[in-house]
Symmetry: D2
Subunit: 287 residues, 4 copies
């Protein structure tokens, strides 16, 4: 579901009223924009209109630079929340990891296979262990060891590196450190985490152990945007797998790894393709 | 995903070209139609544009009667295949059954629970066994026993009954007779069957026995439109469930019943909500 | 996975040690018991041995009446927790309901279809609404209206009725009253409830609304034994289904009904076939 | 579900009769074998008894070398088909690949993570492309280019290499060549293939294209033992994923890769843990 040519994507939400789709599509049509994808929905519970529309920029009469100004009056009239994205240049991504390697393996393999429309600029870790994998895929690898004492300055150094690389998407691929609130607030709805439980069940540490003790018959994984409230950010994707009493805690961890990597990958892919919109702490996932 | 008010639905497909969405939505907007749902897609493999758009008829300036003529020029210009449907009056449905009762139970319960936007006018069977269930739900029940000798005339009698009741949707809820080609041709893409296998695996008779013998680890059910080619009609919905070597043939049949009823119900619901479009022997399911 | 003949089932757990399986099977073999099913497991985390063994009673040299005494010395030696059950007579079941009918419909249909090895003796409700369904299936239906004032005496009347009918399994099929602790304690691991969420997520009231607000991508249902701690009882079965932002709260409720009925039915079936053993607040489900 | 110590596994099937479990477990107990896992089943359809029993070899009075002779009389009496396996030394595995790398990546990562109880001795390919991956994991990589002309002699060279490495399990990880019948017959139930469809649907070439054209709503992958009949070997594991009309053929291939790797990995793991028994062209998977 990626596009062949240079496209723009508008994500917009506003209170529902007559004519919204027509007004928006007409606006694009009049300016030479060929729509390649459109998905809209009006929630019956809140009466909120949401739309994702993608169109080719090739014969579009407005330049990327002028597009925001051109759309602003329409959006203002609709009292809308909205974002504009372009398929090119591809989003610039950093992956944060610690010692667990399954999510990193998976993301890098997908990246090389062409599944992820982005440029993975660098990998940051608080441990040196996974550097050989970064080398295999030829991606710069930086180690920032984190302690209570140096956390503030290390995060500042990381942020500087991110800015230099014009990073717009941060993927926490089982990164075992908690980013500070100030770090999180710099990248709203741009930091994607994978939590190894079916949220909101088993918030916090050792979710597999919690699941084992509760005796659930299904375990899950959840990918979400990172906010200041730990494990409370908007959920992007979840999936589950069955377990039985024959599964030891170690078996759960093993089965969970298979979940974590696909759930994180699907969330990252949806985010990179601009299919995710955050509304009232929930996500709209356009497909 | 049903609508609160009187709505019209346009299903349309045509070769892709610039401006299709804009032209269609503008057509509706100019005539006072408030769009409540729109889903479109361009297949990258065939370059085929497909759209489903639903709008409220309340302030729409064109009457139901005149709508086809009003859209025809646009559709002709697009070289489109298209259909128009209205949420009211609700589609009129007949259910065909034999002796298995699980799908009938399920459909009637959903009907009564308000899940299915239709009017179930009658139930037809080649056996009298399920009449008490029809009585419980207060729906007329007719028995047409079928033999080689009387099949032609019995089908004609059934067709007469269907015409008198203005039936537009036929649901075969584990009906164990094969409708004649001429019967099928009277109701193109209006007859919905449930086949108790994951088609195209295990076409024909005794699919659970075939599945048992092949030693599959997953069994399925498939709901499809009925065409002259048995089990080859466009697939509307499928689902599956795990089996193990501990499942006897009888266990497979039992597990399969749970599949059959939900798969058939989902297919019927999608059909009744006009979310299904047949294109090149495949279905587009708008969600 | 039901048995054709009169069988006994031993459920036993104890600290692991050498020779347990051999000792148990030899005990049965020497007394003429033909084993038809045996599943055992040693948990690597706790070192706990659990076994379920079923054998035919036809040529077994010990009578039902004497079996407990005969096994007791062995069990004592193993320091085991254990239960003995017989396939005949079938367990006697009561179903409690309120106004929601989907679980009751499902259970009664399965009962009639021969899926549940039990005798459903009666249905108890705090509302008269579902009596016609009980009549359709020819099962006695009793109404006990519950208020703050009369709860104690009404429960006592219910318990009297249960005792008269020799009930050993209570199924709460979306029963909207909370049984008192004293009621629960009379039937340890014999009361089966269905909760309409993926426990431990969304404990308490309105779980679908909670799920909707949290924006989860998957909803679930959980069947568990009822204990004094609400929604904290040992989990017997769970299952899930995907939802999207297009699903309204009403859609979630509708999708959830399909989950609730199959999850409850699977739990009841496992319980009736004596495949469930409670250990450390978790269940072992022998398959 | 791997064992901590040196264990033996007996897989046995025979016509059901009284006392089988008791006789087998007593045989082991008398010789000092502590049973760590036992799963048995009697199929109600064929009356076939199957058992998998695993016991610790540490205090067992019979040596590995003498075990077959010791069990033979019992097995002969039961008219049984049977196999004995030992957890040590670990099975020796070769992986065959072509150019697709997803299954190889996955297997090697699991191997390194300790999920697969085996020794991957070498990787064989008909193309040099994946050598860097073998180098990364430090596993010998051999290229045998295959043409019509050289196939016989190349297979002989491969077989020589396999014999030198004492290979007992061959994994075809999207290997695009068909092994000759004589090759297959050398390794009965020891060659594991992954087919990228839900067999028996879409046998043969281009299954994703077949699936796309048929318009199925679910695609699958199947891992099976290789026999002389292509795609007809006993099925070890299957899994599925949903697709919609929005998925292009390319999307199906992408989604399918995620299936293929987990399905193959689960099949390989079950095989290596000696949980698979072939009976009447079907597999029994002990869990």
């Amino acid at each position: 579901m990626t596009y062949n040519s240079n496209t723009a994507v508008l994500l917009l939400s506003c209170p529902d009223r007559a004519g919204l789709v027509s007004r928006i599509t007409h606006f694009l049509f009049e300016r030479g924009g060929n729509i390649v994808d459109l998905d809209e929905h009006v929630s019956s519970d809140e009466g909120e209109f949401t739309i994702r529309v993608a169109w080719e920029m090739d014969n579009f009469s407005i330049s990327k630079e002028d597009l925001k100004d051109a759309i602003a009056p329409l959006a203002k009239e609709f009292k809308a929340k909205w974002e504009i994205h372009f398929s090119e240049p591809a989003p610039k991504v950093v992956i944060f990891v610690s010692k667990f390697d399954h999510c990193l393996h998976d993301l890098l393999w997908r990246y090389k296979a062409g599944e992820l429309n982005c440029e993975i600029k660098l990998i940051i870790s608080n441990h040196p262990d996974l550097e050989p994998l970064a080398v295999f895929y030829n991606i710069p690898f930086y180690v920032f060891k984190i302690s209570k004492e140096n956390k503030v300055e290390q995060e500042q150094a990381e942020q500087k590196l991110l800015q230099e690389n014009e990073i717009d998407t941060i993927v926490l691929a089982r990164y075992m450190q908690i980013l500070s609130d100030s770090f999180c607030s710099l990248y709203p709805n741009q930091i994607i985490n994978i939590h190894h439980s079916f949220l909101p069940a088993f918030i916090g540490g050792n979710p597999y152990k919690q699941a084992y003790k509760r005796g659930v018959k299904i375990i899950g994984a959840t990918s979400h945007y990172v906010t200041a409230d730990l494990d409370e950010g908007p959920i992007i994707e979840q999936d589950v797998i069955r377990v039985t009493h024959k599964d030891s805690l170690k078996d759960m961890v093993r089965k969970g790894r298979d979940l974590e990597r696909v759930v994180l990958a699907r969330a990252v892919k949806a985010h990179l393709e601009k299919r995710v919109m955050v509304l009232n702490k929930r996500t709209i996932i356009f497909d």
